[in-house]
Symmetry: C2
Subunit: 428 residues, 2 copies
Amino acid sequence: MNVSADDVREVAVRARAAAALLAPLPRAAKDAALIAMADALVARTPDILVANAADVTAARAAGTAAGLVDRLTLTPGRVAAIAAGLRQVASLPDPVGEVLRGGVRPNGMELRQIRVPLGVVGIVYEARPNVTVDAAGLCLKSGNAVLLRGSGSAYRSNTALIGVLRDAAASAGLPADAVQLVPGTDHESVKHLISLRGLVDVVIPRGGAGLIRTVVEESAVPVIETGVGNCHVYVDAAADLGMAVAITVNSKVQRPSVCNAAETLLVHRDVADAFLPRALAALAAAGVTVHGDDQVRAAAGAGAGAGFAPAVVPVTDEDWAAEYYSLDIAAGVVDSLDAAVAHIRRWGTGHTEAIITGSLPAARRFISTCDSAAIMVNASTRFTDGERFGFGAEIGISTQKLHARGPMGLPELTSTTWVGIGDGQLVE
Amino acid sequence: MNVSADDVREVAVRARAAAALLAPLPRAAKDAALIAMADALVARTPDILVANAADVTAARAAGTAAGLVDRLTLTPGRVAAIAAGLRQVASLPDPVGEVLRGGVRPNGMELRQIRVPLGVVGIVYEARPNVTVDAAGLCLKSGNAVLLRGSGSAYRSNTALIGVLRDAAASAGLPADAVQLVPGTDHESVKHLISLRGLVDVVIPRGGAGLIRTVVEESAVPVIETGVGNCHVYVDAAADLGMAVAITVNSKVQRPSVCNAAETLLVHRDVADAFLPRALAALAAAGVTVHGDDQVRAAAGAGAGAGFAPAVVPVTDEDWAAEYYSLDIAAGVVDSLDAAVAHIRRWGTGHTEAIITGSLPAARRFISTCDSAAIMVNASTRFTDGERFGFGAEIGISTQKLHARGPMGLPELTSTTWVGIGDGQLVE
């Protein structure tokens, strides 16, 4: 479905008007709308499933991979879970109005910095209908109007879901245009969206690296880059090796398809001989293919002599750069902590790096030099997640340095305003 | 002077290496370098003045306006003042390492969010040699390497200043490449700089609207937009009219050439007859030309009958959009507070808006609906300034919503990292 730039601009203009109405709303009004939306999703589940079934049938006919079809598919249980997510967002504190800094200036003027909505938030995402509702709920709670540009293969599902959400918002007295679908399913509609500087305040791309790169490179609207993760586990000379094996395996295999899974293992040379045979055995037992440098492969050979033969294939530069999202891991031996950090700075994506060490100086050095969104000391890389950080909900994980870095919850969907209150103060 | 993309890339690569060394430095090391820089500027003032004189002579020969030549010109007193600015930055707290949020998760993992340097900061600015040193000082204090791309007409001055700063940094044990001049004086060198995504973490354009627009539209590097201000003063129905006159005049005339000066006056119709004659007389007495709508011009006519004849010329859409930076102000009468906010949302740049009112509901409504970086209640628009907010120093005033909004001091030159510290925690 092709749409013109004017079609997309028109929804953005309506979103801007809705945003002006949302900004001053108190929490109670927004929570009532979120609850109404949750109720409506459950009540209108049959309509939603009919629309979704059409998307699923088309995806199957197009030969879409089973995993992707599964993520696209809705069931009564899944719709109920999505509705429960909205109720959970309703239970979270409202970030709008939070005072971040404040005081009284020497001239008697009160000055405070408060959180305010961003305004209009655009989300470009993959064929996951749950994201449609999650993103709408988080944006509404933070006082933002949202423009949802989901995958074309979920277009019927998204149309149905957004229709339900809009009706519910209106029934709760909020502007229906607080939640809108961006028309169009081709790449042009994304390009129209990211050209609307001044109408759209931020665009958040979610999904594959290619989509994110396109949006980042071409957008005139400010972008928050999310979710690309080439995460490292570094086993320091002072590591507890049993802990290091457990964290390596957990970081790699607990859920390999996500951005906070580990993709590279770096081992200090002083513990390589003691650590590698145990780690390779554990990784092999978990079904992981290791792509190792010469020293790792030598350790695998030694391990073979000791009774097991883990599969270690030669590592290449492509492996160091890879976000496998699969049961593969690159592995190498480094001469020092600083060499590990240099490797991470060269090949990493600035998502999450873990160090396993009992040394406080080593931990401090790693934290202060790694330059990533999250650093885990003696803990799994998999903890970098809004839910696990206690945010209650997450719109994505930022790997950029401006505005928000790491898991983004409701506060990260706000901007700030400085408010000065006086009784006639003038500048001299 | 033309330079290639590779020339600019080379300085950025060096900056990146320097940034890795700066990140873990404690405050004392950075402050010592700032003091060494200040000392060196004073000691080498003669060299700096020779280079500056060549720029000034060339600028005069090129017919540059006297005001711009004045901003370009250095004297022993001005160099001493610039050096004093570095000492002041040394006296400010180090933002790096500040803990913004923190606690212990249910699984025992400590989790905290800390400030870290952005990395490499590019600044593109006008022919003001003081900005060269101010920006270098603020970036160094916040642990960032800086790439300075000043105006071509200050190239000799900047080369001399940066030479002094680099020598002093090196003498204090810091990498000289913490401070670098971007080679080249043509627009291509800016384009090269803003293409270096991944090497440069943020670009901050300072100066004219044209420069800022070019950088914002063409940059692949994240940008912080600064300093464009079409600020409004709204006189509410519940205003103290004497206060309103004083704030209007102060906001307009105290320093008209800066971004936080008022450019438009909006008056609630209920007080127009009582307020406008007084305001127009005061503005006329201060030498301000008022560009008024029909009601404002009628009030001026009534004032003429009462013994004065302020100059009120008809207002146009260009006036509503104008950032005059001169002794001109657009003025109109509005039917309500909401109409004033609608006007501000339509024509404003989101910098600073003032409301004069004794009504708490009116103040609350204005604050929650205006959508600007700063809202002043019963105070001059001119207060939106890092020094006046108590930041001690300012790199610019952001009018964008992401990352930083309003005056940017040292904390705004940082990003954040999440640090999780555990004793072997795994994700289940």
